[in-house]
Symmetry: C2
Subunit: 399 residues, 2 copies
Amino acid sequence: MTAPHLDQLAILGAKPAFERPLPVGQLYFPSWEKYEARFRDIFARQYYTNQGPLTQELERRLEAFFGVRHAICVTNATIGLIMAAESLGLKGKVVTPSFTFIATAQSLEWANLRPAFCDIDLRTHCVTPETIAPYLDEDVSAILAVNLWNGSCDPRTLEEFAAAHNLKLFFDSAHSFGCEVDGVPIGGFGDVEVFSFHATKVFSAAEGGCLTTNNDEIAKRLRNIRSSYGAGPPVPVVKTSNGRMSEAQAAVALMSLEDFPAILARNERLFGLYRACLARAPGLRLLEPTNVSKTNHQYIVVDVEAETFGLTRDQLLRALKAENIVARRYFHPGAHRCMPWADRDSGKTAALPNTETLCERIMQFPTGALVSDEAVARLGDLLETLSKRAPDVRKALEE
Amino acid sequence: MTAPHLDQLAILGAKPAFERPLPVGQLYFPSWEKYEARFRDIFARQYYTNQGPLTQELERRLEAFFGVRHAICVTNATIGLIMAAESLGLKGKVVTPSFTFIATAQSLEWANLRPAFCDIDLRTHCVTPETIAPYLDEDVSAILAVNLWNGSCDPRTLEEFAAAHNLKLFFDSAHSFGCEVDGVPIGGFGDVEVFSFHATKVFSAAEGGCLTTNNDEIAKRLRNIRSSYGAGPPVPVVKTSNGRMSEAQAAVALMSLEDFPAILARNERLFGLYRACLARAPGLRLLEPTNVSKTNHQYIVVDVEAETFGLTRDQLLRALKAENIVARRYFHPGAHRCMPWADRDSGKTAALPNTETLCERIMQFPTGALVSDEAVARLGDLLETLSKRAPDVRKALEE
């Protein structure tokens, strides 16, 4: 395959640049040999679920990886977030950003709490004491911060802020597996952190996730919530559920952990290629990782400045879709504009100006296992052409 | 292996009758060839989760199996119960039996509802209009009935009762996969039914479950709740979650469905062997399936009459455990005596005399894939010996 300079655009009637859709998810495909061996092992052992040996091994390895006392694996991160909220014994409201995946806020509702949506920093896309402070009142019992993209909040500042206000602090770290702050892995901050091992994430169990904490009491509660019939000595928890990870999930995660250095290297290379491409596309700014000393480079997040590039974010998305490039607007709309909060809080939600701005401008580009170096180069050429022929593209989109 | 008449008992110092523990769970082990082919297929397709082709195939097959309009697969039955409760738009209290797996009642709490625990019929172990009626008041919005063991409630009578009282009706049918009432499969009654495909159930996805309904609106809501980002056109649901079934789960379930006739035949044979054995053990009564025209024979449920047998249920359990027979007291204690309800409702919970009685007398014996015909015969001999030597056993247990 060569990467010709494309002056033909699919949106203007040419053939799409890619035959097979380019996805934004990381995706993870172990070798068949590795995969077959793991599943043969599960089959021979006749032990499929309920905190089996592979799940236990995974938890021990993740505790070492994160440098935490407890890693508690779960069937998915949404259930993990619900469990985290429940384990902290919270009441009333939890301050959390609106600029996040909808599950962050939804998890609070399942634990019978209410989100108080706060704004974010325009540069880092994360919450700060300044964006949280306006939403504090006597009904607020915790902060659920979100570590976004390839970076993170400033966890130590948030820990100090939470302590000063006598609030619990937990993190949705779905994006931040393998990231570090001043050499300390994300996973050991606040009361609990929640990671996603969904198929689209940098670390995969197909479906899955884990909770990390250094607090023995919280860990006991989480283990009891995870399985209806408890695990270890029962501790006072109000509700139990089923968040168990199966051996099939743990097997994929163990393979993913083994291959993680190679995955990181690939992501870094793709990120570098995008950086070079996007430097040639005025008006498209690649979001560099913030607050972290080590990143996983798992997302290619771009801020579209329509005036300079010539197309709005949404126009660009449509033009790329015609080329079989499945870029995504993430996050749009903000959670505060979604059900049930848009209705419930209508007129009461304070303005979230930075959130509103970013919801209109931010998008993700394809990366991960199914995206080749050559595909990024070709995509770079396409972006140049799209910018040059922006008036024609806009016209075609209006028709 | 022969089945000698054992006059030596482990509880009295002899060697345990079984080297490897005999479990109560059904368990399911496909052939390696079948298993390997399914997982190779998933691997080749590079599609691991998010309503993949195997999950879709499974749902179509289950709809045919149950004879319902919608079968909606989920990652486990607890999440399924929570989704069901949420989908019905309920408020306040839901009448449900205390004599059930704890997840039945817990699921209501996650949907921000409260269980009103009712009693059960002493013969069928299930709720009836008579046991429900005393708990109806203006705060009750639904009945969550439980189809237990190898039988079921009387679903049509409950449907009429619920309609007459303007209540929603849904079923925890975790035990009742493959059972029929007057030739109609369990799965099509009430507003929704919830099935478990846990590894210990007669139909297995290792972890998994499904929801069945003939109501298109409820089905749409369930599909939206199942995946945070919805599926199909969004419908007004208050909360979404992640209840997705992965392709690995669907693969095991599809194999289980293929082997289901053989599993049923095996269960029926073991049930017959137990029936013969227990006829020789005075004071141990096997619970025959109730209300069903077809059963899955998946549980061996026994009522222990201590005066006749010579040992109480709990004494018998301990003596069997010494033999490596993992019989279980199920259910004990009733949900109304568990956290959080025991505390919350202390002094307010009306007496549940039948529940209290059964919680002290009922137990499950081993059955399923790891229990041979010979093991049942040997267990029968053991029970005879235990009954004969009951005074010695009681004395040994007191020491």
